[in-house]
Symmetry: C3
Subunit: 174 residues, 3 copies
């Protein structure tokens, strides 16, 4: 594979952009700046290589469509942040880990294998033709009791992106 | 009609405010700054004239209630951004058009005529008294697969306002 | 009770943080800076005393779980802002009151008493085991007609936290 060199200032710029965006959106980078920056560099390499910032810790399938769930931030970041305090790569960390500067450890891969992903997609497409049932939605809906923000995801977010309320201010809404 | 003069610094202030808000919210102004600023000026004129920033490219009906759907940003901006890359006035542009500095072109009017709007409103009021049916909501609900944000609108947003994920990371949820 | 001293710079820092967050999220502090700062100081005292920023105008029950609905911002802020233009403490004010620098007045307590809160919680837990009914959700769902943001709360927000649209641009969605 051709060697790709990313200038330090481009890596720093992505690191700064993600840090700032995170502050606004309730996300935090790895407290170890070296780890976070080397992952930013890897994202920029992947962007040059594949055209999109695919997760540095997974193998690109070569097409945007097939990589969609692992374009950073990946579909698995938020559940991993909540369960392990860190995403699969370790680029993102929970507020607790970020604040306490806890060293991060590897976590298990949550992404289903290719066959399961294809089956899930097929199942999703079939369900689109079925009537929806409020008691059988694909994800539970969580409600922030402070501001009424609702999000459909396996668990409530760590921090409400609208009002900043903590995880324990959410209730299951649907 | 009385001539209204808007000082340049007021126009610039609105332009800067909308630019900054857009950065936070995933919206972009026309890449042609002259066009964007002249529309900002027109919005400020309308505010002095009618008391609210009614769309410069539509006729005010004179009351806030009758103008509500075309107070900027109008109810038609987001679907137009997605379909044409630009809103009816050309004040807002898609990220692609903004980034590539594509010259913008006029687009068709999406706003229903007065009679249809009145009928729609009447239909909406009647439906409020009917039981809701999850398979017959007024808008589909789109879900960001990265952060779980859900929005009820004809199409998913160009950029997730919560986590910044792209349009193709959304799925139909309801 | 032990006397707790909060250094002025810590109070100022919280005041500035809440002001900035509010700007991004569509919330405003009391236009009387003295009132707002003394409430910030009281929040910091409560944080030292109880471990969380419990509302300065209510009595802490001593545990985070029992105080959850009155950790600032409390569950009652948003409905009070909409009805009275101010929260129970007067830390938060509506945009109108903030902009016009209206002096704020005491408002009635909206928080149910302890017994009712326990009954509500019990009812909520029981409902979690029942099938959901779209016509009987715990809160109505409001939809911003500009951007499609949906929130589940007694009334629509004063300002859409996603696109900045005003209260009257929301419609009842569910």
């Amino acid at each position: 594979m051709e060697k790709i060199i990313i200038p330090q200032n481009e890596t720093d710029a992505l690191f700064n952009k993600l840090t700032l965006q995170g502050e606004k959106r309730g996300y935090f980078l790895n407290p170890n700046t070296n780890i976070a920056k080397s992952l930013c560099e890897a994202l920029l390499k992947n962007e040059k290589r594949y055209g999109h910032q695919v997760c540095p810790c997974r193998l690109s399938a070569g097409s945007r469509e097939a990589d969609l769930d692992v374009i950073c931030p990946c579909d698995y970041r938020d559940p991993d942040l909540l369960k392990y305090g860190v995403c699969y790569c370790g680029l993102y960390a929970s507020k607790k880990i970020f604040t306490e500067k806890t060293p991060t450890k590897p976590i298990p891969e949550r992404r289903p294998n290719k066959e399961t992903r294809l089956l899930n997609k097929q199942k999703y497409m079939e369900e689109q033709n079925q009537p929806k049932d409020i008691n059988n939605l694909s994800q539970p809906v969580w409600r922030c009791q402070v501001c009424g923000y609702i999000a459909a995801r396996p668990e409530a977010p760590e921090i409400c992106p609208i009002c900043g309320a903590t995880h324990d201010r959410f209730e299951k809404f649907i």
